[in-house]
Symmetry: C2
Subunit: 516 residues, 2 copies
């Protein structure tokens, strides 16, 4: 494996005080909700693009003095049961809205069609003449939404008074000046196969921003940089730089993942895990063999999994050292030391692309969300060979229970090719378990090898899906006998793009409101 | 995981001097060739049955003073190239005969139909009156094949003189008396779903043996024991004991696997591996990153894999400590210490059953051999997402080459469900690689964890198939940077049944020819 790279530990120059994750604007955007940063201004607009094997992820920052519609209220804490996993709790990653679909169906709640058009790029470099430290160029000292022709921020706010007082209260708590430029990190996704749509989107963003800032396209372009990462940063470099006419910088994928991880874990209510609080309330069998938490033998995931609670990380900061398992089309496993140095130590080719590919041929599903929906209704016992099927009883001596999976898909093959009828739901669940359990096992083994207790899962594979999170959590807990913890991220798919966005901030002259 | 079990180290009371693996009698029996043990006699007949999730493996010993037809000549040594992998070299596990098929097509070379009827059970307990130390009850002092009604050993021998002198020469080398009772270990397989066929076979074997020994069935049964292992030993206990009317003992599966491994590795030309001799003759790229043997970066398996040589273990003895990876429907990973103590430390549910199940639904193949045939013609690059597809170049910094698989099956899913046409051959190769690479990776990680350099692969999954052996060998070599070795066994599927057969030998009074 490569020698560890040694990036200089960075001070994050993005002011994350008062950061708030916005509630989703539509079902499609559940896992790409904007993050409102009330204290940050961009000197130069960075548009970050992380182009992977299947998806291109885009991050950019838009200005608005007040948060856009419906800021998130504190998310669910420790109250999810299996039934409430289907109940929308605002901000809960496990609410009932289906995860964003790959298909670009128009969202119901926005007046404009997807992709969203949130605000405009308003880098300070364009505004040095407009902003005089006391308000906006219109002379008004109180914060007002900037009027942009395509800006949704001037849609009437729900409960505007409550909103305004909330913002002011948070601001006073953080000792920031009453006027805060602020703005939102916005997140978008595109199919890599349809990269032109991504390019067009950025092109439109730049054009819209030029109009909003009353500058020419050429001048706007001078205030914009594209930070590109992922494999596609190389593959599509010419396409981006040639079409958009802006500076394009290529950033190392692993470095961006790690920078993104360190940044995103500083946002409150970003990282979460399944607590073990409720395990003790399940009908535990006093354990033998597998030596689990409090002596209770942990059951394998089944159609009726034990009830877990979603718990958010109490201290939103990068918990280093840690292992990052980035699950996209394939899987990269990166170890991160306490000082932030990192090394890609492993990976597996059995990733999201494998599951999506198999299910696209084995089921009628045409999107990953449909596949996840199918799996929720399935019972893998019809498709998998369980320990009980082979032994007729527990293989207790080895810590194996009869409900454990001995052979994934092991019931499917019949001699002579008699193809039994297998339900798409059962197939989906079986393969979801197979891929997730396998990733969990390999992740665990690497965590053990490098003496790491915290395992963050990133990438577009999980999508807040309950069964996947449960399976990964359980695999880590099972193999580690409860000593290691799986952590999940609400912006899991955007680590690379966030990292690309972040990476160059401190090379720019930064501006904080206090200095204005 | 369970605490290690501590079996008493056993002296193997089976006399393996002069053991010879017989050449295959038919294509179907390539990986279940008999083992001729010229110096062994059974006091009591043991029939061992290892009943797994998919297959029931049977081992039994039959007497004959001379080896049956066509004993194996010394098998191929280090001479296989890709083209010769399809050339039959006598005794080579990689000859052109297709591996045994699950389908029970009649073999071409035997007069009787499969399953074979090799000899009869002739435990000494029945013959104490017949055998007088100087020959057989017919008073003849020279070894003769016993005449049994269904015995094939009296088919005319090929080159009988050469055969006879070979046997005598080996005998003199081993200082054994000129008359040697000897006999063969026989191997059979049945589908677990068709366990009745297995029971019937044993029933017929017992009946045939009673006739051959001129005793009643009841007396014959008293000279026979069934040693049952695997999950089915529990599931089918009543079936076996009730139907066959003989004593049935259940033996622990893991113990049997290890006993079987220790025994079988004492048979010459049983264990083999792919040597690295020919690697240096491939067009090596001077390595960076992955630090492989002699600085050459090891290529991922591709449609044109590097040419390896099959090399047999020079010292046929159990090479302990070691890791045993038993690949059946599922996979068990067992570590064996230098003193023979062992512990099941890991496993994976992504095993043979997974591959067979997936390919049975995704291809027209109706048997595992058809699946392997398909894979040999396929190119996984049409189905897998390679590093080069994502990056357009090597990701050299991480030791990844553009031909490496980033996402297995990663090209298959297309948004909106447009299902491209994918060839069965390419699908088969992709999934064979995915499952094999994954097993290799997990095996490697466990070998590393327990500081083991030798990894034996057992189970019915490999079946001497070149691509599978190559993939597993390569995975171990890649991950270990050439420091660990994958070893394969010609009777890989019969470790458990051999172990069950062996396990109780020393509890019986043993008889060696010298004492007669």
């Amino acid at each position: 494996m490569a020698a560890p790279s040694l990036p200089t530990p960075r001070v994050i120059h993005v002011d994350t005080r008062g950061a708030v994750i916005l509630s989703e604007e539509s079902p499609e955007t559940r896992d790409s909700r904007g993050i409102y940063l009330p204290n940050y201004i961009e000197p130069v607009s960075h548009i970050a693009v992380d182009i992977g094997g299947s998806l291109a992820k885009v991050v950019y920052f838009t200005r608005s003095p007040e948060p856009p519609n419906s800021p998130s209220i504190a998310a669910t804490r420790g109250s999810s049961t299996a039934s409430s996993l289907s109940t929308p709790a605002q901000g809960s990653p496990l609410d009932e809205h289906p995860p964003s679909s790959f298909s670009l169906s128009p969202p119901a709640l926005l007046s404009s069609s997807h992709p969203r058009q949130n605000g405009a790029l308003t880098p300070l470099v364009l505004e040095s003449h407009a902003y005089n430290g006391n308000g906006y160029s219109n002379g008004d000292k109180s914060p007002k939404p900037r009027k942009c022709s395509n800006d949704n921020t001037d849609v009437s706010l729900l409960d505007a008074d409550l909103l305004h007082s909330t913002i002011l209260r948070r601001a006073s708590q953080n000792s920031t000046p009453r006027h805060f430029p602020g703005g939102s990190l916005n997140f978008e996704r595109f199919e890599t196969d349809d990269i032109d749509a991504c390019v067009s989107f950025i092109e439109a963003l730049i054009a819209r921003s030029a109009r909003a800032n009353n500058v020419s396209i050429e001048e706007m372009r001078r205030g914009v940089k594209i930070m590109a990462t992922g494999g596609g940063a190389h593959r599509f470099y010419e396409l981006f730089s040639g079409t958009l006419g802006v500076e394009v910088r290529r950033e190392d994928e692993m470095e961006c993942l790690i920078e993104g991880l360190k940044f995103i874990t500083m946002i409150p209510e970003e990282a979460y895990y399944f607590s073990d609080e409720l395990i003790h309330s399940t009908k535990g069998v006093s354990g033998s063999g597998s030596g689990s938490t409090a002596g209770i033998v942990l059951e394998r995931p089944s159609p009726d999994p034990p009830k877990y609670a979603v718990t958010f990380e109490e201290e939103p900061s990068p918990q280093l050292p840690c292992l990052l398992v980035n699950i996209g089309s394939g899987v990269s496993i990166i170890r991160v030391d306490a000082d932030g140095t990192f090394e890609r130590v492993s990976g597996t080719s059995l990733g999201g692309g494998t599951l999506w590919g198999l299910l696209s041929l084995l089921t009628p599903a045409t999107s990953f969300d449909e596949m996840l929906d199918l799996s929720e209704k399935g019972d893998n016992a019809f498709v998998d060979m369980l320990v009980g099927d082979i032994y007729g009883q527990d293989y207790s001596k080895l810590g194996l229970k009869s409900t454990m999976i001995a052979s994934s898909f092991g019931k499917v093959f019949k001699k002579g090719g008699t193809r039994g009828k297998f339900k798409a739901e059962d197939i989906s669940r079986s393969l979801l378990y197979a891929i997730s359990n396998n990733i969990g096992q390999i992740a665990y083994m690497n965590a053990e090898k490098y003496h790491l207790d915290r395992i963050y899962f990133g990438g577009c594979f999980i999508r807040g899906h309950a069964a996947t999170i449960t399976t990964l959590s359980y695999a880590i807990r099972f193999w580690s006998k409860g000593t290691k913890r799986a952590l999940f991220l609400r912006h899991e798919g955007f680590l690379g793009s966030i990292g690309a966005w972040i990476k160059n901030i401190d090379s720019e002259e930064t501006v904080s409101p206090a200095s204005l």
